[in-house]
Symmetry: C2
Subunit: 217 residues, 2 copies
DNA sequence: ATTTCTTATCTGTGATCACAGAATGCGTCA
DNA sequence: TGACGCATTCTGTGATCACAGATAAGAAAT
């Protein structure tokens, strides 16, 4: 693995973990210093993240972490419904017992995180659950697109959600999905995932309106 | 616009026009020489195209134009149906008279290309028609994803389709779509686009099986 | 005190160089 | 004649330097 791959992974993780403020400008030399490399691999990593939609660039300016906006979230939701719904339905026809066991364990860990009001752990487990499910669809082209969507949606999760937003209802959709998968009912699995995304998406929009700091853009 | 943007656009156009053979390795210094620049902007452009899914990279090796494969095309089709179907339906609710006029002109040009058995012109116009339609959906996130899909599908079009594959039926789906848009019927527009993609997709798979040169991978 | 113009600094882009791993060609041996 | 091994060449990666456009800071004028 090359150095720019490691740098890319590091910055990508920082974005997903919300370690950069939405709207923040990322400077090549600063990141290079903090990662203890030359500017070169950082330059490549940032350009790659821009191409993946995780950052936005204007010509001859520093790249920016996209600001949260109602329009952005509203545009994202239907695409997520279409792609993640498709993946869930395909997974329903292909997932095996081992896969269902993995997902069941994930749901248990999400219950635990909800009980402990640990929203960081919940978000991590939630992401694991969804991506494991979509991987089971066995379509690399589809999986790649979905990962790009999550990268774009990541900052919204970590910057808007707090412990107060965790409700037991969140995990009920995952349970519905799991039941559908056990029945081999792809259509029901899709419906459960779509309900999950809709519920969470509406919640994010509400949080955005409540939070004056992010109401801009 | 920076130099690497121009280089990116140039190579991207070469890929879409089929000026690179599927499976071909692209070397930084060769492209730099033919584009009369230093290797630097070429390096950046190639990395960007890899991130966009237009090229594939293995670590420490030259990037490759993806080889055509049945699995690749089969994975692409359901994603295209989901995303382009969504965009067509959204466009049905938002497109205005000027947009419909633009699309109508495009259909006329496709008829002309079909009559002249000019498959290059047909493919260009076809791409214009679809992207114009999807732009009318007014969802930048969605449009971005669809453009990535077309970039991945491009080589399959230009390398498998010949004049002998042009049939008047191809344009009938576009006409159906146009009629649906005029009625403001998004559902019907989606159905027409999906039928178009399915028909053309099946045709590509058949051509792939017929062509021994591309049956590999 | 505020605005504006000028200057100094910052920052991304492009070029050149050095290096390491991969690929290729050639010679040797069975 | 064919296969193996070595050496040369090729090729991507990473670092350093030069430059131009943008940004920010400071000084002068109203």
């Amino acid at each position: 693995m090359t150095l720019q791959d490691r740098v890319h992974a590091a910055i990508r993780a920082d974005i997903l973990a919300g370690r950069f403020r939405p709207g923040q400008r990322l400077k090549i030399r600063d990141l290079a210093a903090s990662l203890d490399t030359s500017p070169m691999p950082v330059r490549a990593a940032l350009q790659r993240l821009v191409a993946e939609g995780a950052l936005e660039a204007e010509a001859l300016r520093s790249v920016r972490v996209p600001a949260l906006s109602r329009a952005g979230l509203e545009n994202l939701l239907p695409v997520r419904l279409a792609l993640e719904g498709l993946a869930a339905e395909a997974a329903g026809a292909r997932i095996d017992a081992a896969g269902i066991a993995t997902l069941t364990a994930g749901v248990a860990r999400m219950d635990q995180a909800l009980g402990a009001h640990d929203f960081a752990a919940y978000l991590t487990e939630n992401s694991q659950f969804h991506l494991t499910l979509y991987r089971a669809a066995g379509n690399p082209v589809l999986l790649r697109m979905i990962e790009q969507l999550w990268l774009q949606a990541g900052p919204a999760f970590t910057w808007l959600v707090t412990s107060d937003d965790l409700s037991p209802r969140l995990n009920s959709f995952h349970r519905d999905c799991l039941a559908a998968l056990a029945d081999g009912d792809g259509r029901a699995a899709r419906a459960a995932i779509e309900a999950d995304l809709r519920y969470f998406g509406q919640h994010l929009l509400m949080l955005l309106d409540l939070d004056p700091a992010h109401r801009n853009a």
